[in-house]
Amino acid sequence: MTIKATMDDGIATRVFPEWRGQPLDEILYHCRELAEDEDFPTVRRWREAGGKVVGHFQVYFPEEIAHAAGMLPFKLRGASVEATQADSRFGSYLCSILKTSLELALSGRVELEMFVTHPICDAARNLAAVWGRNFPYPCQILYLPQNANSPHAAEYLRGEYDRVRRVIEEIAGRQVTETDLQRSLGVFNENRALLRELYAIKRETPWLISAEDAYVLVAVGGMIPREEHNELLRTVLPLIRERSAKRQDRIRVVFEGGFCEQPPLDLIRAIGRSCYVVDDDLLIGLRWILEDVPLDGDPLLALATAYLESSSYSPVQHDLRKPKEAMLLKRIAASGAKAAIVTAAKMCEPGLEEQVAYTRALDEENVPYFVSEFEENMTSFDHLEIQLETFIENLLFE
């Protein structure tokens, strides 16, 4: 299916028509279907319409730069696919998301013009080399600064963003001007504001939106043009607020551990059955920047500064101002959560290491928590669900 329509906002291609004109439940159904579709139809439609795609691995990528060049920034976050071809490219002791992300490309499910990864962990950094040995298009590391406390970090990152801009310009076959970038910043500022509103609903009235539905509403943003995502959110958020769902007696929890590999939707659904997930770090890269990026001045410097100065936290960014366990406690307090679900993807070194700091801090503060590991390809949740229910019951009857 190819859908072309020139809109006033300048976007020429819309790739996710299924939700339009539908009632809320139908819209959410289509979002769930898209988020779980291993063939990524929206990316295919974008390409069929002549568009080009920058695939960026988790966690954060300055999508505005690709967007300003008229390309689709596509978030590579793995998938529930069997890594039949990718398995032979890797060793044994690695997280699943690495393998399934490469599998998506090797199997032809997604086609890219550029691949970008980041030095977020030792495994992810290797992806640029592995990808580059398998595909002819540019496969690069974007060196996001790991010394967020250096006064020079923003200027360095501005230069690194400019380098990426030049590579993207070559692929796109067009210049990316300051005006292009400022327009993209505006689109993404709106997107961030809408996502903040979605999370405000989760925090304030979690009975109006399930954990899984909130998740897919964010996730589809990584696979459709951001203007289209804005349209979707602008439509959906008022409908969610108008819902008449009743508040239930559920424990409010924060879910932590979804910054890179994503838990399967069924796992999020299972958690949502037992408790209200009032905040989380799922797909945190799409929500990394917490405030509007200023539209005046040098857009790349503004974007770089926002990455460092107005941003969330994750185990893969070191910033002395944001000790992770203190940030988790802050997230719990700010969302009014009573407990935390502290997870890590299997074989995820930073996630597993952070679990120790998180649980010790939670112990000190007497915040109840549930610790678990997950894998994107897991299919059985019975055991985990029983454990979680027991944990929740203990809290309810304490």
């Binding site: 030095p119 962990c121 030792d122 290797n126 580059g132 250096s150 020079h152 360095y156 679990q355 120790v356």
Partner: protein
């Protein structure tokens, strides 16, 4: 004369290296006893040149951890860290160090002081997570001196290129930010002439290290890159920026040049010249090497001697007229080179095969280290597509004997050597 020299020169590097190592640990134990604090650093970008200026004892936790494996007590340390909460699936070096800290610095070789500061690059991301543990345990300053690496294979930039200069300005700025932190921690003022002195020693060591590695192109090879090379590597890290380290490597060059001139190789009757890719199997360190040497295989070079020396193999020479800027440039180029030999090593290995007359390539990815191991299977696939050379791929670990099966490793190695022998026989038959 030559006989006399054989007695005094041959084997000197191993003996002196072991002596220096003992001396180093003696000094650390003494510092710990006096409750003097140390700088905790890592092998890829240790900044010893700068830290020596502030008279800080230098602790390399990676080296301490691997020593627990070599001395066959790593499992005790790993279990202790796992009981503390760390997963079996994270870096074994980190866990051994956590247990070391919980034991007040006690190690089989002595006792290490507590940290006053940790200084580290992002050449391995686990460095950052590791230092965060010390930050929490001791509340000491930790300083990530972020060194951007190559963005893609063959995409290295050089001085004058705007992208290189952007990276250099970033590294130089961080060095300038680190100096006042070190002054505050130690109470010692920065002395640029002392920095020139340590950089002079580092220049000498870099030159010598590069030369030592090149000299192993000799046939027969002069040292085993896996066993002997690891001793040299320990000195290259622990004594970087010191007169003792520079002198050791000058002596080592002399030893290797002498051996090359005299045609003196290792103890192995060299039948096959091999390249090692990955990290050694420290839980059975000696036996692991013997699996190869018993069948006539010697390791003539390894990526380990590149990346675990922080890229000293590059031989970078600092410009002493402009120490800070040159330190930034040198660290940027050298640490980048170290990273390249882990991530983008296809061309490096292809060149090594030619330069060292290699007969085979041995890949040893390990559970503990994703930095080194993640891309090795794909690299092997790419290298084999490019070069007609036998290779062996076997997984184990650098720390955890639970994932080291000597019998399985031996089976694989034996089969590999059978293949090497068959290949050589075929080549002999095909020759006119």
């Amino acid at each position: 004369m030559a006989d006399q020299a054989v007695d005094t020169i041959v084997g000197r590097g191993n003996k002196d290296g072991a002596d220096l190592f003992r001396q180093w640990f003696g000094e650390l134990t003494e510092a710990a006893g006096e409750d003097r604090r140390a700088a905790y650093v890592f092998v890829m970008g240790s900044f010893c040149e700068l830290l020596q200026v502030f008279d800080l004892p230098i602790v390399f936790p990676e080296i301490n951890s691997l020593q627990t494996a070599v001395r066959r007590v790593a499992h005790e340390y790993l279990n202790e860290a796992e009981d503390y909460g760390y997963s079996p699936d994270i870096c074994g070096y980190v866990k051994a160090d956590v247990a070391t800290q919980l034991r007040g610095g006690e190690l089989p070789m002595g006792r290490i002081p507590k940290p006053a500061i940790a200084v580290y690059t992002n050449a391995c991301n686990t460095y950052i997570k590791w230092a965060e543990i010390w930050e929490r345990m001791y509340g000491v300053p930790t300083f990530v001196l972020d060194v951007p690496g190559s963005r893609a294979a063959g995409m290295q930039t050089w001085p004058g290129d705007p992208d290189f200069e952007n990276d250099r300005r970033y590294v130089a700025a961080q060095i300038k930010e680190l100096i006042p932190v070190l002054e505050k921690v130690t109470g010692i003022g920065f002395d640029i002439d002392k920095l020139r002195e340590t950089m002079t020693h580092a220049n000498s060591m870099n030159r010598s290290w590069k030369r030592v590695l090149e000299l192993n192109q000799s046939q027969p090879s002069l040292f085993n890159a896996l066993s002997d090379g690891t001793i040299y590597l320990g000195v290259a890290n622990g004594f970087r920026g010191t007169a003792a380290g520079a002198a050791y490597f000058e002596d080592l060059v002399e030893e290797m040049e002498f051996k090359a001139a005299q045609g003196i190789g290792t103890l192995t009757e060299e039948l096959y010249r091999l390249i090692f890719v990955g990290v050694p199997c420290y839980p059975i360190f000696r036996r692991f090497t013997e699996l190869f040497t018993e069948l006539g295989g010697t390791f003539v070079n390894s990526t380990y001697l590149w990346f675990a020396s922080g890229g000293s193999n590059f031989g970078f020479q600092y410009d002493l007229d402009d120490p800070i800027e040159s330190l930034a440039e040198g660290v940027l180029i050298s640490v980048r080179d170290a990273m390249d030999s882990m991530f983008f090593q296809t061309q490096i290995l292809s060149d090594m095969i030619d330069d060292f007359g290699a007969d085979g390539v041995v890949y040893h990815p390990i559970k503990s280290c994703r930095t080194v191991s993640t891309g090795l299977a794909d690299n092997r696939r790419a290298l084999m597509a490019q070069r007609d050379i036998p290779s062996l791929f076997m997984e184990s670990d650098m720390m955890d004997k639970r994932v080291v099966s000597e019998a399985q490793l031996k089976n694989r190695v034996d089969a590999f050597f059978e293949g090497l022998a068959t290949r050589r026989q075929r080549a002999a038959i095909q020759q006119p």
